[in-house]
Symmetry: C2
Subunit: 180 residues, 2 copies
């Protein structure tokens, strides 16, 4: 029953699309899922072994590769577990932006410091946006795959919000520069 661990669900979600190694799962986290989810090796590998123990995934060695790869596959139970979780209401959407936190207390350190943080934020977003735009162009051209439709929706969420962030940065900078 209860309290599905998110790390299990993300992994099962990824495995529901394709067989993967722990390393590849981490890569997906660092690229495709990056702007709305993340996890470290320290949680991924133990979770994978745990999923196998609970019969939600199976593990096998890759014989084709020269490397010591361990390939994980979702089981029927795993798919059921995932489907159940997907059907439950969302528990938590959380945004935790240190940038906003520091900006909120900006009066303590003055406009220049605030500007520095905003500009750093702007650069970070500007650096990420191209990846999202690239992902969108790829996904838009391959909507035959049923999964791509959903990827595209999340990518578009990212693009829209990032563009809004950049607009806000411009306004915020202007406002601070005006000194009012």
């Amino acid at each position: 029953m209860a309290n599905e661990k998110k790390i299990d669900c993300v992994i099962l979600g990824l495995l529901s699309h394709e067989e993967l190694t722990g390393y590849e799962i981490k890569k997906r986290m660092d690229t495709t899922l990056k702007y709305f989810w993340s996890a470290s090796y320290g949680s991924i590998y133990p979770a994978l072994n745990d999923l196998v123990d609970r019969g939600l995934a199976t593990k096998r060695e890759d014989t084709k590769s020269k490397r010591n790869k361990l390939i994980y596959t979702i089981t029927e139970n795993g798919r059921g577990y995932l489907k159940r979780w997907l059907s439950l209401p969302i528990e938590k959407d959380e945004l935790r932006y240190e940038t906003l936190l520091k900006l909120f207390f900006g009066s303590e350190n003055g406009e220049e410091q605030a500007l520095i943080h905003i500009e750093a934020f702007e650069r970070k977003i500007e650096a990420e946006l191209p990846y999202l735009l690239h992902a969108k162009s790829i996904l838009s051209n391959s909507l035959n795959d049923n999964t791509h439709k959903y990827y595209l929706l999340t990518v578009e969420f990212g693009i829209k919000t990032y563009q809004t962030y950049l607009e806000w940065c411009e306004e915020a900078k202007k406002r601070l520069a005006e000194g009012q």
Copy 2:
């Protein structure tokens, strides 16, 4: 020097504006800071005592009130600590949206489930937005206070992104309804 704990910094930030009790700090978290930061009593109260132990804040009983209030005040050292932290580069801006996670794996459960999650998200945002708009109108009328300028910037961030979320919801719903 040292890995500033975020909880200490938020608290000191709030105390830098005004004296507060732990209970009031929690309230600020649940209202003003809500959409970009949060914390529970279980971390606030221990942190407050810790700040006092380290000389970053002082504690006194409220004599005026009939309640057993403990009022915390930031010290000069506390202010220094806060200023230093504010001047350090941002370490982490994190967004963790279960909604996007479930949507990403949406193909597993189909369009109807995806729609349900998007609509729930939409309702949640629609419910929050008025508070932000209200905060903005109040802040816009009292920019004489130096701190308000910074509050306003963060509130505007929230408003802009929430409005973008709502736009995205409309598009996403339409796209899913079209079944393509």
